[in-house]
Subunit: 605 residues, 2 copies
């Protein structure tokens, strides 16, 4: 289907926005009036620029407060409308958004609104323009698309139809099923926006927090399916007011926005089997982590910790300064290539998938930027993409040890270890990209959002969100550090880490400490509180205290884990999940972050 994006979704000047939308592959734009007013280019220049970029100017938006008014006010509306219609003609535009009146309405009467739309329709038709009437969620009298449609029916004018906006319908909890009763040709335009689950006034929610489809909690696929079943054939257009996207690189936002529509088309077809929409190659969720990579100029401190934890050194890559360590199905790659001046950080991870070729097709179909790694003859060519935060994500076929392991030489025989696999990989996200990540991992790899929480660190609240497969084989918590940490590059707040799932974590902690593993010390007060909170045997609490192991419990089972100290930006966590415990011990995270702050020499003030 044809795609469009409102210029208000993007930052920069109108020229920047048009260029970004075109480069991202949109077919058209909704032109947001303030963007035009602030632009130095004349309407004719904007039209010519759009022509050169092969962008259609799909909708001029919006005209506000046009109906439900008294006669004196309506005379002013007509005066303003005529000026705008003339302006639209200069740009060759033929569709204008008229929102239900939220400001000046004084008459709560469908007949009055319909009559005024009819007069506007006559005026518009003289300019070859059509009016798309939309119920704002906060319209003074008209705040429901069903009433807007009744008014349009009553207006009964060929130049007057409705505009449907997913936010205005779904934010109010209105049932979108009645959309199918609207004849497709009377749906003049479709605006799509997702949103997070927030309980605030609908106007603030709409103006600051909208998201691209797939990033929030709305059922955009279901909504869009209703509109398409009604026979709508216009563009799928994004109208996302979002404080973050207003700030960030418009080219990047536009590419991400375009990807959200690609994902949506697929989701709609999967739901409704509608013709004319393109599918994405279907995928099963990944089976587990293939590897995790830590990059640094010198990875020795990580090597030492892995050795102390019981990992086996599997040798050095035959053409690169890269080492492999493994324990059970957990593989850690240590990369010193192109790493000058870099402290240890998580640079990549791999996922084990059923069908790498289809995964690659899906990535291509979504237009995700590919990662590049130099390879030589007879080396496995691992495909990879760059995630929004810059982490590279690879994929290889699931089952047994992957073929690329054989490229490592001079390894030692594999030792038995109580470590089974990578349990989760926790990534720090810049605040600008976390919403994009919440679409990226589900759309590209089939992970699902599994809620989130705020964790209090000594330097502010860390926003944590979880992506995972349904079976828990892959879990990726994403953490957004407090702004001040990001702004000033302070330590603490949020670190990246690799959690390794094991059996017998108490024995492992004991043995690893014996081998010198630097374990993060947990304060004694924590154990006093643990004893007060849970009915645990006193001796057990004392064993945990002696080993700096933290504890959590949910309805299903228990969670035991300990942390290493942080090296560079990375630490390791060793976790044992007992009886199907399904969380991450979020309640322990504030204690862990305070301890990390103390270990880093205290929190600077």
């Amino acid at each position: 289907m044809k795609t469009s994006i409102a210029t208000v979704c993007l930052s920069g000047t109108l020229r920047d926005k048009l260029v970004a939308a075109a480069r991202a592959g949109f077919d058209g734009v909704e032109l947001f009036e303030p963007d035009l007013i602030a632009a130095p280019e004349s309407p004719e220049e904007i039209r010519a620029l759009a022509d050169r970029l092969a962008l259609t100017l799909d909708l001029y938006q919006p005209m506000r407060d046009v109906e439900g008014v008294d006669e004196a006010e309506f005379a002013r509306v007509l005066r303003r409308a005529e000026a705008k219609f003339a302006l639209m003609r200069r740009m060759g535009m033929d569709l204008v958004l008229c929102c239900s009146n939220a400001g000046t309405a004084t008459v709560d009467d469908d007949e009055v609104s319909a009559a005024q739309l009819r007069v506007l329709g006559d005026l518009a038709a003289g300019y070859g323009i059509r009016i798309a009437y939309e119920a704002l969620a906060w319209g003074r009298f008209v705040d429901d698309y069903r009433r807007a449609w009744r008014i349009v029916q009553r207006a009964d004018h060929p130049a007057v139809g409705v505009c449907l906006d997913s936010f205005h319908v779904l934010s109010r909890g209105h049932d979108p099923a009645a959309i199918e009763a609207i004849p497709g040709e009377k749906i003049f335009f479709l605006q799509l926006a997702d949103a997070p689950d927030l309980s605030m006034d609908v106007l603030s929610w709409s103006r600051h927090h909208r998201l691209f489809p797939g990033e929030g909690v709305f059922d955009l696929a279901g909504f869009t399916a209703h509109v398409l079943r009604a026979g709508y054939t216009g563009p799928l257009s994004l109208e996302v007011f979002n404080d973050t996207f207003r700030q960030t690189d418009p080219a990047r936002t536009a590419a991400h926005a375009r990807r959200s529509l690609r994902w949506l088309e697929d989701a709609v077809t999967a739901r409704a089997g509608l013709p004319g929409l393109e599918r994405l190659p279907a995928l099963d969720p990944p089976r587990g982590f293939d590897f995790v990579e830590v990059t640094a100029e010198d990875t020795s401190p990580i090597e030492r910790m892995l050795q102390q934890a019981g990992f086996t050194p599997r040798g050095r890559h035959r053409t690169k300064p890269v080492a492999l360590w493994s324990a059970g199905r957990a593989r850690i790659v240590l990369n010193e290539q192109h790493a000058r001046d870099l402290a240890p950080h998580l640079s990549a991870f791999g996922l084990a998938v059923d069908d790498p070729a289809r995964q690659s097709e899906r990535v291509r179909a979504l237009g995700v930027p590919a990662a590049y790694r130099r390879t030589y003859a007879h080396e496995e060519l691992l495909p990879a993409v760059v995630a929004p935060d810059g982490t590279e994500v690879y994929w290889a076929v699931a089952g047994g040890e992957p073929a690329w392991v054989s490229e490592f030489e001079h390894g030692e025989p594999v030792r038995e270890a109580p470590i089974e696999a990578v349990d989760h990989v926790s990534l720090t996200q810049p605040w600008q990209v976390v919403d994009e990540s919440m679409l990226f991992y589900p759309a590209v790899f089939g992970l699902s959002s599994a809620g989130g929480t705020d964790v209090a660190s000594p330097r502010g609240l860390v926003q944590s969100r979880v992506l995972r497969t349904p079976d828990g084989a892959v879990r990726v918590p994403l953490n957004v550090a407090p702004p001040i940490v990001a702004e000033r590059g302070l330590p603490g707040g949020a670190s990246q880490h690799v959690a390794l799932r094991c059996h017998g974590v108490l024995a492992l902690a004991h043995a690893a400490r014996g081998r010198g593993l630097p374990v993060l010390p947990i304060p004694g007060n924590y154990y006093d509180d643990l004893a007060a909170r849970f009915d645990l045997p006193a001796g057990f609490v004392e064993r945990l205290r002696g080993l700096d192991i933290v504890y959590d419990r949910d309805e299903a089972g228990e969670y035991l884990n300990f942390y290493t100290e942080t090296v560079g930006q990375v630490f390791f966590e060793f976790v044992e999940r007992i009886d199907g415990y399904d969380g991450f011990g979020a309640g322990n995270a504030p204690v862990r972050m305070a301890a990390q702050g103390a270990a880093a020499g205290g929190v600077p003030s």
Copy 2:
């Protein structure tokens, strides 16, 4: 009165928080349990540290979900309570906060809650501890302080009283007058927090957006007066959950918090004439701006603009590399002292006040940091403070030309100019300090908050808030730039500026352009829209267009203004207020910011 602050108001470790609270002059703290649990110090160490710092540990907070539960759950509550009471004894604490049950309550019965509080009271009394029961705004059954008080009455136990929290009462719109019916000795504790006017769920509002007294919209003075009239004699204690203060320097936040209580004591006494509270020296609002100072290594580009605008050069300061320019009552000081590598920026402004000595006393009473400037014999010693954003604010006696003007030598005779005075000074605020500023200017100088708005710039939303005197003689809009602008030091988004009020702005614009003043070009589309929005004579719109003058109108009158280009971080604005127009032309700000972005070579992406 005794003052206290909850450790959750401050960032850092528990030790950092205690030190900060003590240095700011608080008498005690509320100890937030997670801060203790995450601390490496034992309870005995915390007690000893508090003793050394002369801080009392006033309240352990909180115990959650203690009443309204079934018997099995209540047994668990008692087990947990006993461990916490023992812990409190180790710290010599004798008061614990018990919130109304928001999680586990299953019994909606005052008698059950009262009976359970009575049992807890017996247990607590054995440890010499008292229980302060508080109605959370989101308590499952008990969410109103009046019901909490009925339950406490029914519990009828000497160790069980109420805790009152302004947020929980005022956020729900509950009338605080009934507080006066509670005997003072049964009000065991008082927690104070202000809040901005947000419409969101009360839990998120409370957990993320609380403010210190005077920074929000609650009537804290009225609330506190009710509590004091009831006979409460405990501490005024701050409990402010705020995402920003969780991140910022705890010493600074604590000083600011302490100042808010100083302001509150005064406001309560002003309201209620209660004994035992300290007044601040009373003040009238300032009469106008005394001067505005721009600092730079080289201020010549500013000098040139002032000359082009019609200012008179009043000479050079006799002991410093500082120049004075004036027009009407507007005085601009250009400062090149200690300015190496600095681009032009607003470094200070002066206010004309009725009684400089009382102003100085008030500043001292509030503990505001003083600014220092070197002065020599026979020079006016102008007192000044450092505002939260680093701007220095001076004051001198109102009426005629101030004495300090005579320190400038080699000036020219004052020329007639259509410029009358400084209309407003617009400051860019780092997001970390804007809330502090909203208390600073009202508490220190008697300005009032006059609402705010979000303005869309090409780089994101700029949050704008206005401080002013009732008569409009002093207006200070504060602008918070989008985070990405602050984080990356990008141009645009928000600039500082000085607005000069004049008569005949069209003639001034014409003359100043003739003298070469670099005026910010306003796009033609703006004027097309102006003609569509307002019923203005076509010739008038064309005159505005030719002079790059923007226009606004409110119920009272009209506003005409034009902007200079930006030099360093500063630009000037020339405004004419006709017939009592009272705003700032906020609707024109997006156009201005886009034009500034274009003038700065476009918005980088």
